[in-house]
């Protein structure tokens, strides 16, 4: 995949996710790995409207999160989290969305530090899961504006939970990833579907 195809794919995904309510305002940030040694990422710029994202708003950063070119705009404030996930998981793409259901459930279950999603056929769409008899732990991190601390906390959490496919940040949204942008995008669809399903299931029967 050439780099301009990467940029177009990121732009199309961002616009689609905005339309679906997963990246409203200037929320959400999306990246793909451009090179591994040394690490280079293509990532959405900070504070841009994802519904009108343009190729010029995709920046290239190094493994320390520094912008590599002289394009206007600065990398997303959460670039360090993307890098932490790429380094810990070997991911080829990282997506951070900000839906209503991930926001609501990240707060509702914050006291337990996460919650299980279990027994759903849709779980089979997650990489490596081959049966609905799977118990997926979805960790919840406390939110912070200190990105270095949050990136370190992310690495620690991923070290303790080597099998998770995503996590929530409290009242903030979801992170998931994949070996490439298509797999990461599929993980977003699947986890968002599961969040809405378990949220509505719980509303039908609170003690559930």
């Amino acid at each position: 995949m050439s780099q301009s195809a990467t940029v177009d794919d990121l732009v199309n995904l961002a616009r689609d996710f905005h339309r679906r309510g997963w990246a409203l305002g200037t929320s959400g940030n999306f990246s793909t790995v451009v090179a591994r040694e040394p690490l280079r990422l293509a990532i959405t710029a900070s504070s841009v409207d994802k519904g009108q994202l343009t190729p010029g708003q995709i920046l290239e950063v190094d493994g320390g999160g520094r912008a590599l070119n002289s394009t206007p705009g600065k990398p997303s404030a959460e670039t360090l989290l993307h890098i932490a996930i790429v380094e810990t998981r070997g991911a080829g793409a990282v997506l951070h969305t900000h839906s209503v259901w991930s926001t609501v459930l990240s707060d509702y279950h914050a006291g337990s530090g996460g919650f299980f999603i279990e027994g759903y056929e849709m779980l089979k769409g997650l990489d490596g899961v081959s049966t609905h008899e799977h118990r997926e732990w979805l960790p919840i991190l406390e939110n912070s504006q200190d990105m270095e601390e949050l990136a370190a906390e992310t690495k620690r959490m991923l070290g303790h939970n080597p099998n998770v496919h995503g996590f929530l940040i409290r009242r903030h949204g979801m992170y998931t990833w994949g070996k490439d942008l298509a797999e990461a995008g599929r993980h977003v669809e699947i986890l968002e579907f599961l969040l809405e399903s378990v949220g509505r299931r719980q509303m039908m029967e609170p003690q559930y």
Copy 2:
């Protein structure tokens, strides 16, 4: 109907159902009968994104679920359920969707093995129903990864419930069918509408 028209109709329906949230991730599979003697089905390939489905991802299978041509990709894992429904009901098209409401209600009512949908005008859109004073039983099967067992269970259940127009699989989704793809698609719209209606009705008054 020529076979290429069949393929185009399946592709258009799959993309539309993905857009409406009924076939997210790689979930959902859709088939139409191409020939009866011997049986041949056109069916969506396994593990493909329905939102970007292409004609090349529609495969042709025989009555044992084996792919008939050398196209890349393998038939959906649930092909045997499609065949079980075609054989038991004489259906011309079978649609398996995976919406939030079918997932939630398939779990909420699992203990009763199904539930009734009764007294709704929308029921008249189901083949052979001519009044809202109709009591539609929607059976729920336990989910399984053993497709031969699940297909056999489906046949048994359809034998005991000769009048149903669809059924749910627990935490998995819905199956419905019709004499052709248009009727099967109408049945999806109607059952999804009814599932959302009875789900929201129940949330307004839990003892309902």
Copy 3:
């Protein structure tokens, strides 16, 4: 307005309402008055998919509900209700939709024969309402497959409730109307908005 413009407007409205979930399956029927003396209506044919409605599926009927031309298809089974509303209210267009919220609330409030919608600014979009300090009664009729009886019941109810802008049929949907198709369409938007608002308001506080 020429008659072909009328037909195009009905087709466009039907497709739009299908897309918005207000006329799924083959539900919903829509009419406009073509002539008054003697009465002639353009109305959607029975049992057609509103999402793919074509001009040829709009039929012309007389004041007794009989088709006037030799087009294939028969008029909607509910043509007599459209005529009852046109005659009682002098409406120029009648729209019958079938949304989830109208279905749910038509059942929830059936015991009271209707319910009030009161104090909402959106009420001002209804013809003749100039303040939010308005109390709109939304009557609910029991559903029936005897259209002559249901049309007579509609006339009686409209006689007793000369100020209503619409009504529900239990577990069936909503009827509203206007002096022309644009006003009737606006009434649908407004009443559907109010139904969802009062429904969600009630779910937040059941004793509300």
Copy 4:
């Protein structure tokens, strides 16, 4: 920005907001400042369908809310509220939307005169907010048809609450603003997202 670009931007925003359910019927009104000394606003005409808004339905008004040109149509009845906000806050654009969630919550919390939205990352999309550890007060005014009184009440309320980014009118909808139309539009997206999130959060746990 030339004035015709202003008009096109207002038309596009209005149509988009109608599609998203934030300006149904003839609800909603939208303005941008065209000149400051003396004040001139471009504002949507009264009682027009935002889903089919045309450039000719954008009027120009002076600081007293009087139409400046001979275009047909009269300015929105709520023009005085737009002017009150422009004068009190120095806003360059004012947007009044009318969503289900703003309507429901404006009624649910009316007794407290408003409510806090606190701790959500999405708050950072509001102008001047740099951390999720922010407590946004969303005031609620009682609705009125006396626009001079409601405009005066708005000025008083904004005087007492110099840091708010928007407010609700009971059972009526939301007002927000920004230095230009893009910022005001972003504020709508963010506040609508937060309203749906806190509304659903509350439904999961009423004592919340």
